[in-house]
Amino acid sequence: MTPNLTRRDMGRLLAGAGLASLLPGRVLAQTADTLSIAYPGDVPVWDPNLRTHVVGHSLFKCVFDQPLTYTPDLKLSPAIVTAWQASPDGKTLELTLRDDVSFHNGDRLTAEDFRYTFFERPHAEKLDTTGIWRRVSDIEVASPTRAIMRFSDAMPSAIPWLSFLASFVVPKKYMTSVGRDGFIARPVGSGPYRLASYQQNARIGLEAFDGYWDGAPAYKQVTFEILNDVSSRTAAIESRRVGLSSDISVREANRLGQDPQLKASVEPFTDIYVLQVGNTGGFTDSRVRLAAHHAIDKVAISRALFGGVAKPIAVPAAHGTPGYPEDFDFPFDAARAAALVKEAGFSAEKPVDVTFFTTNGTFPGDYDLSRVIVQMWGRIGIRARLETIEFVQYQERLRAGTLPEATMYRWGNMTGDPELYSGYLLNPKFPFAAWKSPDVSARLDPLFVETDPEKRFAGYREFNKWAVLQGYAIPLLQGVTTSVYRRTVGFVPYANGWIRPSAYKPG
C-alpha cells in the first residue's frame, strides 16, 4: 500500500501517460482458452471452512475440492472420496480417498488433511463448520487414503453435507505453517484452478491447475467479475465483455437468448421459494393458512414472473429430489380458499389482517412474488400488510421468533437432501424454523437419526405432505437459475445452480 516511488517509476509515469494518449481504442482480448464470468457475489474470505456462503460456493469450488460432489443432474458423485460406507447405527462412516490428488503447492492430499478439515479445525477454531460437524467425535486416519468418521449421534446427513457449504478440504501442512491469515492471503486448495489474482468484491483471476486429478480444465484462464447489480451483469454479457453472465432476470435471459451469438440457460434448480408461516395472528387458524395456500395461483405466477420456467411445488422441496412426493398436489382453488376463510369467520368484506414480511432484491423476484401474493390473498379475504425488511432483519426476527404470519424466503439446498429442506426449515429446534409447534419435532426427530436412506426419504415425503396439509409452510416455486453465455463457451447447467467453469469446454 505504501507508495514507494523511485525516480525510474516517475519516468515510467510520465512516459506512460504520454504513450497512452497515442494508443488506439481498446481491444477485447478473449482467446479460446480464457473465460470471464459476470457473477453476483464474492467469497466472504478465502478460507472455505470459515463461513457457509451460498454465493461463494461456486467460487470456492474452483479453487478447493469437496469430498463428494454432484453431477449436473444432481446425482451424488465421488470426488476426493471415491467410496463410502456407513455403519448400521449410523455412528461410523468409512471413506476411501483418491491417492492422486495434490494441492496447488504440490503437497499430496491425504486422510490427514481430511481429518484436519473436518475434525481438527472445527474443534480448534471458531468456524461455521464447527456447528455443522459438532457430532463428529473423531476421524481415524487408517491410511493415507482411508478415513473413518465417528459420530456421537447418528448423522445421516453427513453424506450430503460432505458436498455442501463450507465442506472443502484444506491442506493441513500449508495451513499450519502459514497460519490462517497467511492462508487467506494466499489460499492453496486442490481444486481445478489456482487463485492467480484477487481484488475483493471486484475480480477473481484463476489459472488452470495442470495437476488436477480430474484432468486440467479446458479453460486455462478464468476471471470472475463480481457484479452485484443485475443490470450490470445483463449489460456485461450483452456487450460481450464477459463470456458468461450468471443470475440475470428470466425475461432478459430469454431476450438475450435470441441473439445469434448468445445462448441462454434458464432452468429450475434446487432453491425453492417458500412462504414461512408463523403461528401467530390470523394464521393460528389452520383454515386461514390453508386458504392462503389455496389462493395462490403458482402456475400464473411462474408464467408471469419466471417465463413459466419456475416449477410450482406442493411441498418444501424441489421436484426430482428424494423428499418430493410426486403423487401429491396442493391445487390452486380460489373458491375453496374463499370458503375456508368464510368458515373461519372472515370474508372479502371483513378480511383477516395479516402481516407479510418480504425482502426486496435479496432473491430474484422476491418482492414481485410477494406483491402478487398479496393481491391474490386480497381477493379471498386475507388482507396482508406487506413490509419490506432487510435480510439481516429477517435473521434477527427469525432468531427472536418474532416473524409475522408470513415471510417470503428462498431456501437454498444444493444437495437436494430432504433434511436440508424441510428438516431444517420446519424443525423448531433449528433457528431456521418460523413455525414452532411440538407436533413437528415428534415427527422429525426420528428422521434425523434414521440411517436407512430409503426409509429416511420415504419418511420425509410423508412428513412434507403432512406439514403442507397442516399449513405449516406454503411452498411456492422452484427457483430459476439463469445464465447467458456466448455460444462457444460450452456451458453446462447444474441442477443445483453451480457455476463450474472447470466443466465447460470451448467449442
Binding site: M1, D128, G131, Q200, S232, Y424
Partner: protein
C-alpha cells in the same frame, strides 16, 4: 504564519472527527440488526450466538464499546468484520483508493466542464443563448445521477460498444497494486495499454459523477463572474486599458474562483457520498460497494468504519478547500 492559519482548522476538523465517530457509533447501535445473528452457521445454538456476541464485545454497555472502538482507532485498528472475520482496517484501505480515484476523476471532469460551461455562459450573457444555457443546466441538475449511470451504460456500453463499464480494468490488464490507484499502478508497471484501459474504465462512472457537479459549477461561476464584472476594480482595470479578455483572466476569474471553490468543496463532499450508487451500478470495487454489502449483511464494524471513512473524506476535502480558499483569499489571512 501558514501554520497559524492551518492549526485551528486542523483542530476543528479533529474535533469534528471525534464527534462524527460518536455519532456514527451511536446511530449504528440503533440499527435493528443483529450482526452476530447474520454471522452464525447453520445448526448454531443459542450458546454459539452468545459466545460470538461476547467475542465481538457486543454484550458490553454502549459507552464501553465506544471507548474500546475509539481506543482501537487511535491504534489504527478499526475492529474485525463480523461477516468476513478479518481486520476492517486493511479491508477499508484496500478499497479507498478506488473510491478516491473515482471522486478525483469525477471532480476533475465536473470542474473542467463546469468551468468551461461557466465561461461559455458568461461569454453569451445577454444573448438568446443564455436562456438556452440556463435551461440546459437546469435539465442537467435535475436528472438523478443513477439515471446518467444507467443511460451511459446503455448508450456507450451496450449500444455503441465504445466504453467498458465493469470494474476498474480489463482482466488481461491487471497489474500489481502498489498505490491502489489504478492509473498510477498501470503506469508504474510500465504498461501504457493498461493505463489507457483503466482510463477507459473510469470514463463512464466518472462522467456519471461529474455530470451532476458541472452545471452547479457552471452556474456559480457564471453568477460570480457577473457579480465581479460590475465591481469597481474591474471597471478600473478597463479604464487602465485592459481588454475584456485580460480583465477576465487577470482579475475576474480569480475573484470569481472564491465562491466557486466553496461550492466545489461542499459538492465534493456530496460527490464522495454519490460514489456509493455509482459504484454499485458500475461494479466499482470501492468503499460504496463495501458499505452496501456490509449494510446487507449487517456487518456493523464494517459499516461504522466505512461511514467514518466517508465522513473523514468529506472533512478532508473541506479542509483542503478551506486551505485553498485561504490561499486564494488574502482577506482571510492573518496579517
Amino acid at each position: 504564519m501558514i501554520l497559524r492559519a492551518i492549526l485551528p482548522r486542523l483542530l476543528a476538523a479533529l474535533m469534528m472527527v471525534v464527534l462524527v465517530s460518536v455519532l456514527v457509533f451511536v446511530m449504528l447501535r440503533q440499527l435493528p440488526m443483529d450482526p452476530v445473528g447474520m454471522s452464525l452457521p447453520p445448526g448454531a445454538t443459542e450458546a454459539d450466538r452468545l459466545a460470538l456476541t461476547r467475542e465481538f464485545g457486543l454484550d458490553r454497555p454502549v459507552a464501553e464499546q465506544y471507548l474500546r472502538w475509539g481506543a482501537g482507532l487511535l491504534r489504527g485498528e478499526f475492529g474485525v468484520s463480523v461477516n468476513l472475520r478479518r481486520a476492517v482496517g486493511p479491508l477499508i484501505a484496500s478499497v479507498v483508493p478506488a473510491t478516491a480515484e473515482l471522486v478525483a476523476a469525477g471532480l476533475l471532469l465536473g470542474t473542467v466542464f463546469g468551468i468551461g460551461g461557466g465561461l461559455v455562459l458568461f461569454a453569451v450573457r445577454r444573448t438568446p443563448w443564455e436562456g438556452v444555457g440556463d435551461v440546459l443546466t437546469s435539465i442537467l441538475v435535475s436528472v438523478p445521477e443513477f439515471v446518467w449511470a444507467i443511460g451511459g451504460i446503455l448508450l456507450f456500453g451496450v449500444w455503441a460498444h465504445a466504453l467498458p463499464f465493469i470494474g476498474r480494468v480489463d482482466p488481461q490488464n491487471v497489474v500489481a497494486a502498489r498505490t491502489g490507484f489504478m492509473l498510477l499502478d498501470t503506469l508504474l508497471a510500465g504498461r501504457p495499454a493498461a493505463f489507457a484501459d483503466a482510463l477507459a474504465h473510469l470514463a463512464l462512472p466518472a462522467t456519471a459523477l461529474g455530470i451532476t457537479l458541472a452545471p452547479l459549477v457552471t452556474r456559480i461561476l457564471r453568477s460570480s463572474l457577473l457579480g465581479v464584472i460590475v465591481e469597481d476594480f474591474v471597471q478600473m482595470a478597463r479604464l487602465r486599458g485592459l481588454t475584456e479578455r485580460q480583465v477576465l483572466t487577470r482579475h475576474a476569474l480569480r475573484n470569481a474562483a472564491l465562491p466557486t471553490l466553496s461550492l466545489i468543496g461542499v459538492q465534493a463532499g456530496f460527490m464522495f457520498g454519490g460514489t456509493l450508487l455509482v459504484e454499485v451500478i458500475f461494479g466499482w470495487p470501492g468503499l460504496g460497494n463495501l458499505m452496501v454489502t456490509a449494510v446487507r449483511s449487517g456487518d456493523i464494524p464494517v459499516i461504522q468504519a466505512a461511514a467514518l471513512v466517508y465522513c473523514l473524506g468529506v472533512l478532508l476535502i473541506n479542509l483542503v478547500v478551506d486551505l485553498a480558499y485561504l490561499r486564494l483569499n488574502p482577506r482571510l489571512r492573518l496579517r
